[in-house]
Subunit: 447 residues, 2 copies
């Protein structure tokens, strides 16, 4: 069963879109990180003492003071970056600007990889491996979207300002803070502005980083920052499989060729069977028809119609089961239509294209990595909830590497909509960013 705290956190998350003002504790709308099942928080972390020591240290306090002093700069950075369009597959300009910002904060080994990820290294003192801290450059909005930021009182509005430009801004703020405080870490930290996190990007930035790029076998742990407050750790990776399923046929005239197989009827048959699938609620498993399209005119039998579907689960076997069931339905629907109407002019055929493949993964809540992160909440007397999401962290999770997504420390709202925005509240946001900073320093081994 879910605990009180975890349920409250989830409720806050799911309410975030509708009631942003109430969502300080967990501002990430469900539409941004795809939260799945919430797991109960663990008993108090064994690292709580260590977290307390870190957060009461002079150096940490100095860093936090820099977060506060630089808050306006951080907001300005977010505005600057938001106003550079970064549609899926069009992140280059924003990446270039972000790389220059990372360079200004003293990172070395500056690089733009083959996918378009931009990155720079903050060398550690040794013995801590390589930690990646990332936020994604891409937004869900097409290139033509007006991304000019509009300010209204304490709210800033612009598509993409929350998801995930606040993450990019937080990284800069944290870098400036730990640099100013002279905090060193055992780990090398690679700060990354990555591409392809949103739907059509299909995590191609992470796939480059972990499967192909020069750091591919060197990364020991991973944290991505997404728009959310400091109450949750996304340590479960919901897997997804997405298909654009097209039924093709010979087409024809609605009158002259009546009786000919019609791909719309095949699609309807498949869609209806898909809708009848039973899926488990634990691990949470879901499916959806998101898009329908096809045909040329009302009085033509379509040459092609398609549906784009999404299937997800935080269970590997359960994801495979729903995917297998879907894939089994399709040829049956094709056969049924070819049997129901005339195939003299041609048959119905299937063109099923995979358009998304996010692996299932999990970084166990009781692992040292997650417990070091949880310790920060415990030290503050605010235990964190654990949730499953669909983020950049899915890739390292699927490789068995310690990986989570944390809140970037701002309150945002209406993610993925044209009314997307963030609230500006210095005192509150500095506290939130400081939690994330403490978490990074915990796992990176602050000295």
């Amino acid at each position: 069963m879910k605990t009180r705290i975890a349920s409250a956190a989830l409720a806050a998350l799911l309410c975030a879109v509708a009631a942003p003002a109430l969502a300080q504790e967990a501002a990430k709308p469900a539409a941004q990180v795809d939260f799945g099942n919430v797991r109960p928080p663990q008993p108090t972390s064994p690292y709580t003492k260590q977290a307390k020591a870190l957060m009461t240290s002079k150096a940490f306090k100095a860093a936090k003071a820099t977060l506060a002093a630089g808050y306006e700069q951080t907001v300005e950075d977010i505005v600057t970056l938001t106003e550079i369009p970064a549609p899926p597959f069009g992140e280059a300009e924003k990446g270039k600007a972000y790389l220059a910002m990372l360079a200004k904060e003293g990172l070395t080994d500056l690089d733009t990889d083959a996918a378009g990820n931009v990155m720079g290294l903050r060398k550690g003192t040794g013995g801590g491996g390589l930690l990646v801290v990332a936020a994604h450059l891409d937004t869900v909005f097409p290139a033509s979207t007006d991304v000019k930021v509009r300010r209204d009182g304490d709210k800033l509005y612009a598509p993409g300002i929350g998801d995930d430009t606040v993450g990019l801004g937080s990284i800069l703020a944290i870098l400036r803070a730990i640099n100013a405080a002279g905090i060193q870490t055992k780990s090398d930290i690679l700060f990354v502005g990555d591409v392809g996190e949103e739907g059509p990007g299909d995590l191609r930035g992470m796939k480059e980083l972990f499967f192909k790029g020069k750091y591919k076998d060197k990364i020991d742990a991973f944290i991505s920052l997404e728009p959310s407050g400091p109450t949750v750790i996304v340590n479960g990776g919901v897997g997804s499989k997405r298909y654009k399923t097209t039924f093709k046929g010979p087409g024809g005239h609605s009158m002259g060729d009546f009786g000919t197989v019609n791909p719309a009827f095949a699609l309807a048959d498949a869609a209806r069977q898909f809708g009848e699938l039973k899926v488990p609620s634990d691990p949470r498993t879901v499916y959806n028809i998101g898009l329908l399209e096809g045909g040329t005119s009302v009085n033509s039998i379509p040459f092609a119609v398609s549906m784009t579907v999404d299937m997800r689960s935080s269970g590997k076997a359960e994801l495979k089961a729903v995917e297998d069931a879907y894939l089994a339905i399709l040829p049956k629907a094709v056969e049924a239509e070819n049997a129901a109407r005339s195939t003299k002019r041609g048959v119905i055929s299937l063109d099923n294209k995979m358009v998304g493949d996010r692996p299932v993964g999990e970084t166990p809540a009781n692992s040292p990595f997650v417990q070091q992160l949880a310790a920060v909440g415990d030290a503050l007397g605010k235990p964190m909830g654990y949730v499953a999401g669909s983020t950049d962290a899915n890739i390292p999770m699927s490789l068995g590497k310690p990986a989570v997504t944390l809140g970037a420390g701002f309150v945002t709202f209406r993610g993925h909509s044209l009314e997307e925005g963030m609230e500006v509240n210095k005192a509150r946001d500095v506290e939130s960013i400081a939690v994330t900073m403490a978490q990074i320093l915990m796992v990176a081994g602050a000295k």
Copy 2:
């Protein structure tokens, strides 16, 4: 049973798209006029002698000589008019140009009505009532389509050149011919370039002419010219009902809101039931799903999805039966989806918009009007077939007025496609246009 001749005519019609070169006798592709059931030709027309007399008269021969002499001008007119875009609801410029051409041929009472039909009168000697001869200005192509005519040997290519710009050109050719020959008619003839014949126009030009315009109660008979050779008389009007059926729901996130009603499943259910409907083959009755659309992204439960459907029959009761069956399916599919999934966030609802309504009609083959037209074929030893179509003539047919669609006299191909074209063959085309001219003169009472 169908006779040999009628079957051959239909075969030629249905082959026209694939084999334009063979289609001289019946060049109208099924995609242009929506031919339904073919009825056998009647016994030799009682007007055959009269038709023979007309066609062997000096005046008629003089008119035919003018058709031949003016053939290049006619082709030029067709090219000029084709190159003026005339998408559905965008016929004004082409109409203006056509009205100027009609004016040049000496018509009086020039007018552009409220719908955009352009027209001019050729006064008769009296006692013959008012005959309308029309061709439609609109094409199926959107405004952005390249309508520049390309010539390749004896073929001219451009979207809309066949359907129905050849009809507009034929009217001009026939006017010039009968004017030059000094042929008078008992009937007043109103020549019309009309709007809204193609799908989305829903016959609005005819509806204006017959239900609202200044001639509404004065028209005694109607002929429209469409791209086809001289072998068939479209004396049956296939009725159609078209709906854009939208299923709406609360939408939501594919993961966070899984279990919520999804309008795509309701649509699928309705579409599948639609596909199972049994319809009679005599009178020919058909149905189609032509377009599917809806949804915002793969990982959103759609707010709305829709299908656009077409139902047709040349039988009034049969059309109503298939329409009633469709309309009965829709609320059942809505109810089923509302029962199958959660309606906590909102229910599935229906928004069913009629987007096409063409009445069923027929001008009996044994009526004097049709028999006067048939006499021209009989006089030439080439009896005509009777077919049902979906054209401008549907409106006057539905009012019980004598009305048909005749071939404009050119061989065209690939109607409604970007490869639409016409062949240029002077000797053949002049013979074909002369048949149409003779038919008009028969019913208008040439003196």
